[in-house]
């Protein structure tokens, strides 16, 4: 019964098995878990229910955490891309001699665990931290500024976490733009800004879009920084999922929250692609 099939299909088999077993199956398990109720101290009851989703979607508090997560994600992404673009541009156009060293500087933070980096921010930003002591010594403020357990602190920590990723994804994109195009524009009388807005930016837009998606998904899923720096004024979905999964052990609810985050984030991606007109044929995230 041997049908001569396309050999490419066989070549894809290992990856299909791997992704099916280690990516798709856990996702399906998560989905099935989200449709079950878990009652503490009792063997799991049977039957499927939408109660976990109702509990989240009918509660203004939880909808608020969803909104806070997404707003934080957008905010951090915009900051990381805006701050990262000039750096990436400099890296892409740097002379060969400096390039390796500069790249190492960008990658360096990625070599340190995010937990350690977050503790670094805590030492800097705490009430008696380095930043506040400097501000007080310079008489710029009368009493310590509250950075810790505020939106500001978490945003700082997350931008720091996301910047290297944003820069690295932008560098290769900017490098792909031929400097001759920019020179031509300058030669025809365009100023630096105009060259950037009319030539460089449009040509790097697709890469920028992909990079910002990456940063956004890292930010909405980030756990360590919000957990250590956020406090109760900023509860995001990742910390909520952690609580329900590992502390209160309401796995059904935790799985439902995780599923909601996944669906909303994917939905936003698709919308974003549509808006940027990148969706040609098959979407990357479908």
């Amino acid at each position: 019964m041997r049908k001569p099939g396309p050999p490419a299909a066989w070549l894809a088999a290992p990856l299909t098995v791997l992704l099916g077993g280690f990516f798709l199956a856990p996702l399906l398990l998560l989905l099935s878990q989200s449709l079950r109720l878990v009652v503490i101290g009792q063997p799991a009851p049977g039957g499927l229910t939408l109660q976990n989703y109702v509990r989240f979607l009918a509660d203004p508090f939880y909808l608020g955490t969803l909104r806070a997560t997404l707003v934080l994600g957008v905010f951090v992404t915009v900051l990381a891309v805006v701050l990262g673009y000039p750096v990436a541009y400099g890296l892409a156009r740097a002379r060969h001699r400096w390039r390796t060293l500069l790249r190492l500087c960008v990658v360096a933070p990625l070599l340190v665990s995010v937990v350690i980096r977050t503790y670094g921010w805590i030492v800097l930003l705490a009430g008696n931290g380095v930043v506040n002591q400097t501000l007080l010594a310079l008489r710029l403020v009368d009493e310590p500024v509250k950075f810790m357990f505020t939106y500001t602190g978490v945003t700082l920590g997350l931008v720091h976490f996301a910047l290297p990723v944003a820069i690295l994804s932008l560098v290769s994109v900017i490098e792909a733009v031929d400097p001759a195009l920019e020179e031509a524009a300058r030669g025809l009388g365009a100023g630096a800004w105009r060259t950037f807005l009319r030539i460089t930016l449009p040509l790097t837009l697709p890469g920028l879009a992909a990079g910002s998606m990456l940063v956004f998904s890292l930010t909405v899923a980030a756990f360590v920084t919000p957990a250590l720096m956020g406090g109760p004024s900023l509860i995001v979905l990742s910390t909520l999922i952690y609580q329900t999964m590992t502390v209160t052990l309401e796995w059904g609810f935790g799985a439902a929250v995780a599923t909601i985050l996944l669906v909303v984030a994917t939905g936003l991606f698709l919308l974003y692609q549509r808006l940027l007109g990148l969706a040609r044929g098959s979407g990357h995230f479908a």
Partner: protein, 357 residues
């Protein structure tokens, strides 16, 4: 056919990989090896030196020390794996052991399996309806900065004093210290485990004084070192270790009394080497191990025969009288109510912060 064979090959390879990842080794029922799931940090180092290594020598056995996760995470692991082997002995807090026992995950342990059980105080034998003995007790104390908080505090209510605005650290209720603080706040306000409203009311009043919202114990260290935090509820054992390291801290059991957390050892039904597991629990409960452990980690031993030298007075609660003064929460109720309290804490503290600004 060939495809099938390739796929089977991949399947087999994946299975081998999974087994390797899980650290599963064939054989076991007869082997002299158990996996003990404990905690990391100082606890782990001391446990290995004072209990695990002497046990290995005496019983000619091997104990694999697994230091991953909190008590709640160990319970989650037990739950997720149910009938599949994960470890032979585990440490759990009293309320987590109860939850695990109720879900049918734990072996019952009586004196026929661990003879040393009869040497423990009554409450430690009866704990968890026979799913495991209380191996040690750790009271929640008020930890304070000796130079900044004067006079030395003698009441929990000092935390609410406006002088200490922004200088108090509080754990989230999903973690033991926060949970016990909520209960203490309830007792002070005239409630208890079953009438928790006064507790939440007092915690809301505490919000202006809270400068650090933390969870795990190690997180506290930089805040205490840098004097960002002057007052906080903390576990006695860890507090005494920090005092030994020379930080200017004091630890006091306030006059209103305090709650103590119970540490228990349990053997899951899915354990592979139960005989040796019981031996291990029994060994740990014997007076020499209990005393060595208490001297180093400042936990209250539950073995009646253990006494500590005079210099431990005021640092570890030892003996029937001192233990009698500690309060133990209704763990059964905690296990059930905790989920609802976490949700309520999230919402109410968030609310209180909103109106504070």
């Amino acid at each position: 056919m060939r495809t099938l064979r390739i796929l089977t090959g991949i399947g087999v390879m994946a299975a081998i990989l999974a087994l390797a990842v899980a650290g599963a080794r064939p054989g076991g029922a007869q082997s002299r090896e158990i996996v003990f799931s404990g905690y990391g940090g100082d606890y782990g180092e001391l446990m290995k030196k004072l209990v695990v290594e002497p046990f290995e020598k005496r019983f000619n056995a091997r104990v694999v020390y697994d230091a991953t996760g909190s008590s709640a995470q160990k319970l989650a692991k037990l739950r997720a794996t149910r009938d599949t082997y994960t470890f032979d002995v585990t440490v759990l807090t009293g309320y987590d052991l109860l939850a695990a026992g109720r879900e049918g995950l734990m072996e019952t342990i009586g004196p026929e399996k661990i003879p040393n059980l009869t040497k423990l105080y009554d409450f430690a034998q009866k704990e968890g309806q026979g799913w495991g003995p209380v191996t040690s007790v750790d009271p929640l104390i008020l930890l304070y900065n000796r130079e900044r908080v004067r006079p030395a505090p003698d009441s929990w209510t000092v935390m609410w004093d406006p002088r200490y605005r922004g200088k108090v650290a509080v754990s989230h209720v999903s973690e033991g210290k926060g949970l016990f603080l909520l209960l203490i706040a309830a007792y002070i306000g005239g409630g208890d485990e079953k009438r928790i409203d006064p507790g939440f009311a007092r915690i809301r009043e505490l919000v202006p004084n809270v400068g650090a919202w933390l969870t795990l114990s190690p997180q506290y260290v930089p805040y205490l070192q840098r004097e960002d935090v002057w007052l906080t509820p903390y576990w006695n054992g860890r507090a005494q270790l920090m005092i030994d390291q020379g930080l200017p801290l004091g630890a006091v059991i306030p006059k209103e009394g305090t709650l103590a957390i119970t540490n228990t050892f349990g053997v899951p039904k899915s354990a592979r080497n139960k005989t040796l597991a019981y031996e291990f629990v029994n060994f740990y409960l014997a007076a020499p191990q209990q005393e060595a452990w208490a001297r180093k980690i400042y936990y209250t031993p539950t073995n009646r025969e253990v006494t500590l030298p005079a210099e431990y007075a005021g640092r570890v609660a030892v003996g029937a009288e001192a233990i009698g003064r500690l309060r133990f929460p209704d763990e059964d109720h905690l296990a059930k109510a905790r989920g609802a309290w976490v949700e309520r804490w999230n919402k109410e503290i968030y609310d209180a912060l909103k109106y504070q600004k």
